[in-house]
């Protein structure tokens, strides 16, 4: 369909800052496909936020990097134009191109943790922007840096300016990045997944900040993301990409409300609905897992020169999980939700309290005694890449459990095949190595491995967080299905309320190692009792439908 053209004409009226025409960028030989992006055309206009949406590998960042001239080695444009303020940056000599960076175009990246030089003070790094373009005296630079820090709303800017990056939180670092990007009041701001690595509440704040700055300065913003929720929050216009091609482009409102392209539809559908979670009958049978006054304190060992520090990761946690029930543990980073999970599977050793599984207290078991009980509780891990031994065949990876518990090898491998079938990979996968599988598939393998010991309880720690939305949906479906088939009991740990809402019967909200609130999913979503829960809900991007666009 001719989406590209009409979108291009449609906005010729508004002042166009960046206009991309028929851009194709080639990948180095040996990559999975020849072109990173193919025949891409779109504009970014002053005063609007243009969202480029796509899942990993869709090539959504390529155009941006072309504009910046920051394409990785071996990747280079082969066709088309990238006109920024009228001049085609592709043909621009490096020196002039450099002059644009920072001055006319600012950019923010995904990883605030690594995007700042760990050895330079924040102030100095901001001042560098002015230095790079030979502006102001050193003294003035520091002053401007401070003003900028204030503008991006960093707490205690006077301290922050002479702080090192590691002394700031993720959100604060992202603010610093923004301050840097905006230092010279660029015409165009490129934000490449700027909030993906952040907690929901922080994400909300950063989004707010970007939107706000954009409005005040009337900049053009090119916002790259994978999250339609975020799109709904900030986008004026949307450009959906897949496999390096544009599948749909248009006004945010239109695209979100009645997407034309099936892929877009799928994506939007795949966002865990922000509607009310389905009412679930919680069958009140005997509790499977009882947690009583569980405590865990992390102490950084006092080294030769540093004194020991304490973090209360679990503060007197008590909860019960019924057989066949799925309980969601929700919280932001540092809430202790993962620690809870790790204590339940006994990867961590709780300081005090009880972990009753069917009346047996696991909390204080050690050594072999523990090893013998382990098969009863299994875990699905977050990172599909780190959770499988690259040197072990998939079948073996699954069979190892049963074998460790006495099943003969042959039988164990056979069972592994069946499980792989069950999770929809086919028994043939047994012989293959992890790197032959995609992220989603690996996560299925992880699930199969967890099932191999048919445990009474499965703990899923951020099991879908690392996956693209569409994949996420599939894996969640699989879990749902397995739950029914095998009447599993799940402890589902996630930072993403939307996901929790989809799959959980009951939800526990945690903060600073404490339980803030718990109740049925329905309850939590519709009538949260606690302010914190409320704030979490509010922070969910795109919760209150597409709004920003019209504003």
């Amino acid at each position: 369909m001719p989406v590209t053209t009409d979108s291009a004409t449609e906005h010729s009226s508004a002042e166009t800052v960046l206009s991309i025409r028929d851009l194709s960028v080639a990948l180095p030989k040996g990559a999975d496909r020849a072109l990173a992006v193919e025949d891409v055309s779109y504009d970014v206009n002053r005063g609007e936020i243009m969202c480029v949406v796509g899942e990993s590998g869709s090539g959504k960042s390529m155009a941006a990097n072309t504009v910046m001239g920051l394409l990785p080695k071996g990747v280079h444009p082969v066709q088309g134009e990238v006109n920024f303020l009228g001049q085609n940056v592709i043909t621009l000599p490096e020196k002039q191109h450099r002059a644009l960076r920072g001055l006319k175009i600012g950019m923010i990246f995904q990883e605030p943790m690594t995007a700042l030089n760990p050895l330079m003070r924040v102030g100095a790094q901001i001042a560098e922007v002015f230095e790079a373009h030979g502006q102001l005296t050193p003294k003035q630079r520091q002053e401007r840096a401070l003003e900028l820090l204030i503008e991006v709303g960093i707490p205690q800017p006077e301290k922050a300016i002479s702080a090192y990056p590691f002394e700031l939180s993720g959100g604060q670092r992202q603010r610093v990045m923004i301050a840097m990007a905006l230092a010279l009041e660029p015409v165009l701001l490129i934000a490449d997944e700027p909030t993906t690595a952040l907690d929901v509440t922080t994400q909300a704040q950063i989004l707010e900040l970007i939107r706000d700055l954009q409005r005040r300065r009337g900049m053009a913003v090119m916002f790259i993301t994978h999250d339609f929720g975020v799109v709904a929050e900030v986008a004026n216009r949307v450009c959906v990409m897949r496999h390096g091609k544009i599948v749909e482009i248009g006004e945010a409102k239109d695209v979100l409300e009645n997407p034309q392209n099936p892929y877009t539809k799928a994506l939007i559908a795949a966002i865990p609905s922000n509607a009310v979670p389905p009412h679930r009958e919680t069958s009140q049978v005997a509790p499977l897992l009882e947690i009583k006054q569980l405590n865990k304190v992390f102490r950084s060992r006092g080294g030769w020169f540093k004194s020991a520090r304490e973090v209360r990761a679990l503060d007197d946690i008590s909860l019960t999980l019924a057989r066949g029930e799925t309980m969601g543990i929700v919280g932001e980073s540092g809430s202790g939700k993962s620690t809870l999970g790790r204590c339940v599977v006994r990867l961590e050793h709780p300081d005090s309290g009880e972990l009753l599984l069917d009346g047996v207290n696991l909390s204080q078991l050690k050594g072999d005694a523990l090893r013998r009980e382990r098969h009863r509780v299994q875990m699905i891990f977050q990172d599909p890449y780190a959770s499988l031994n690259p040197r072990t065949r998939v079948g073996m990876a699954i069979a190892q459990g049963p074998m460790a518990n006495g099943t003969p090898k042959a039988a164990a491998l056979k069972q592994a095949g069946e499980l792989l079938d069950l999770v929809g990979l086919g028994a043939s996968a047994v012989e293959r190595f992890p790197h032959e599988f995609s992220g989603g598939q690996r996560q299925r393998i992880g699930i199969a491995r967890a099932l191999a010991l048919n445990p009474e309880l499965i703990v899923a720690d951020e099991a879908v967080s690392a996956l693209d939305v569409s994949i996420q949906a599939q894996v969640l479906e699989l879990l749902e299905e397995l739950k029914q088939r095998l009447s599993l009991s799940l402890l589902f740990i996630t930072h993403d309320l939307r996901v929790a809402a989809q799959i959980c019967d009951r939800i526990v909200v945690m903060q600073h190692g404490r339980i803030v609130e718990q109740g049925s999913a329905e309850q939590i979503f519709l009538h949260p009792k606690e302010a914190y829960t409320q704030s979490l809900l509010d922070a969910i991007p795109g919760r209150q439908a597409p709004v920003a666009a019209t504003a």
Binding site: R371, R374, R391, H435
Partner: protein, 277 residues
């Protein structure tokens, strides 16, 4: 991309491999080409290279055939390099693995122990050890091994520390695998590549160390090693440059080759895949 393909991408590595193979061939052919002892005084002393049929590289201070010595020496040097490295690995890998896997006090203790060894200057320690045990292949190999294991231990420890909290290791613990199984099956295989790379460099260093020891007269007098040849030729370096030149070059090439191969292995075994994702 296949392992060798990745290895071959690095041209240096390929060259190194070829040189290394040549040297190994030399070592193997030595007994065939020069069946009689390299110690045999077969000609007038100080024959310059090419000056006489059958004495390509000339003769040494006592009329022994330098070419013969060189080829038998290849065997000795390689042997010493390999064996001492293996011994060092045998000491270093387990220590490092245990320290890295269990951490805590065990780690503390083992690392103090390692540091302790590193606090005594290597070469000095090696010399003392050889002097104590009196020079012989065995004592030299042991001495070299004893001074070169700490880096191994440290490396392995570091690798284990970074891997022991990998999710697949935790998964293995969860399914009830024993610590020994986890160490041997899950972690060790994934630390092999850096170890192999380090080992290749250690062989090189060992050869250098041996030559240095022989140079100081602490070599095994019953075997003709390159180091011995240089050491022996040093006093006559003025009137017979070739005596120390050829073994010197031999050592240089071997060490060079081993390093190139090491780098190649590094590229091939640690594909960037592992870092990015």
């Amino acid at each position: 991309m296949s392992f060798f393909a990745r290895f071959a991408q690095n041209r240096g590595a390929l060259i190194g491999l070829i040189i290394l193979l040549l040297i190994i061939v030399m070592a193997i052919l030595a007994p065939l080409l020069f069946p009689e002892s390299p110690w045999r005084m077969v000609q007038r002393p100080f024959l310059p290279p090419l000056s006489q049929e059958g004495f390509l590289l000339g003769t040494d201070t006592m009329g022994r055939n330098v070419a013969a010595g060189l080829m038998h020496g290849a065997w000795v040097s390689l042997l010493i390099g390999l064996v001492s490295t293996s011994v060092a690995l045998l000491i270093g890998v387990p220590l490092g693995a245990i320290a890295g896997y269990y951490g805590g006090l065990v780690d503390d203790f083992l690392m103090r122990f390692t540091e302790f060894f590193q606090t005594i200057p290597n070469f000095a320690l090696a010399i003392v050890l050889v002097a104590i045990m009196q020079p012989s292949i065995t004592s030299i190999v042991l001495a070299i091994a004893l001074v070169s294991w700490p880096p191994v231990a440290r490396l392995v420890r570091a690798e284990f520390m970074s891997l022991r909290h990998r999710e697949y290791v935790e998964a293995a613990r969860l399914v009830g695998q024993t610590n020994s199984t986890i160490i041997l099956r899950q972690i060790l295989p994934n630390t092999l590549s850096p170890i192999i790379v380090l080992a290749s460099l250690m062989v090189a260093t060992a050869i250098l160390l041996e030559s240095a020891l022989s140079f100081l007269g602490l070599g095994d007098p019953n075997v003709m090693s390159w180091g011995y040849m240089i050491g022996a030729a040093r006093t006559v370096i003025r009137q017979a440059w070739w005596l120390s030149f050829f073994p010197g070059v031999a050592i240089l090439l071997t060490v060079l080759a081993l390093n190139l191969v090491g780098e190649g292995l590094d590229d091939a075994l640690n594909p960037k895949l592992s870092r990015e994702r």
